[in-house]
Symmetry: C2
Subunit: 192 residues, 2 copies
């Protein structure tokens, strides 16, 4: 969270000054590990959404940008970025998180990379993924300020199917979400 938020806001502090210069960016450290290690919302997305919300006051545009950021994250093989001087030199697999939550995102990556959560590889993966998310957030913000509308979220076949009953206007209308696949489908959720 801190990595994504601070990388955007400290650049604004340098180029624009206030009110970004005095923003207490360090407070955003709380989002690490899906907030204090609870594995909830991926910290990079919590930071990206916070930065978008600081800069975009219009509710419709703010939500559209967060939707596009979250949709990109869960459907993109990550990490993409390879630093020139990484903290830990490794050839890391790029894996589609299929969720916006820290725990399933990391678990899906770990299944493919076959390392421990506490490995240097996993830590390096999350560092690089922070860079990817910061970059994508800035691309979306720049496009928005240049007048380009956000691309509407494609829920996908499975989530659309679920929400046709459980979402707004459905027979049940009993849930709130924009993604069912990461948690509710057997390949991800069942214990082996």
């Amino acid at each position: 969270m801190y990595g994504v938020f601070a990388s955007i806001v400290t650049q604004l502090a340098g180029k624009v000054g206030e009110p970004y210069k005095s923003f207490p960016c360090e407070m955003m450290v709380y989002g690490e590990g899906g907030v204090a290690g609870w594995g909830a919302l991926c910290g990079t997305l919590n930071g990206g959404a916070a930065a978008i919300s600081l800069l975009v006051q219009n509710e419709v545009e703010r939500k559209a940008l967060i939707d596009e950021l979250f949709g990109w994250y869960q459907n993109t093989k990550l990490p993409v970025f390879t630093p020139e001087k990484p903290f830990f030199q490794a050839d890391l697999p790029a894996v589609k998180p299929d969720s916006v939550l820290c725990h399933p995102s990391v678990s899906t990556w770990i299944k493919q990379s076959k390392v421990s959560f506490y490995s240097k590889e996993r830590k390096e993966r999350c560092t690089r993924l922070s860079a990817d998310t910061a970059r994508r957030t800035v691309e979306l913000l720049n496009a928005s300020f240049a007048g380009t509308s956000a691309t509407p979220l494609n829920l996908g076949e499975k989530t659309s199917g679920c929400l046709s009953c459980h979402g707004k206007g459905g027979v049940k209308a009993d849930v709130l979400t924009k993604s069912c696949t990461g948690c509710h489908f057997p390949s991800n959720i069942q214990h082996p």
Copy 2:
């Protein structure tokens, strides 16, 4: 998120002044509905954790307070607070969320209350739950500043069992979380 964060920080702004007075509290609207309706981390907890992190710089203490807040939330029948002049007058059931995530927390409550997600009852439930979480966050912060240590998180039998293999020091050590029950146990996750 805004409700919890702003109720704490605007009081500090009134009593202490800067730096709270100029904090752009309105940015915290992004956390509504588990961030822009994605159903991820409950917005009240995102706001409570953000307020704790703004006020508590010590990492160990910050994480301990967030743990205690999150543990309280998932294991307490909520909402407790009944406003004198509610937005919507209703006798709402108090239900243990069993998760820190918006979507399972709301879904568990809806199953018991038998209303639509889009009902006035559900909206009133989340409003009252915001008041409960703001109050609990302030109680924890006050206790911390008065020198009382946070109560260590009790993971519970099921999560402790999972983490004995999957957590730090376990044979697999392949996941990060502090709660497995809300998503991984059949009563909550399986489609009827």
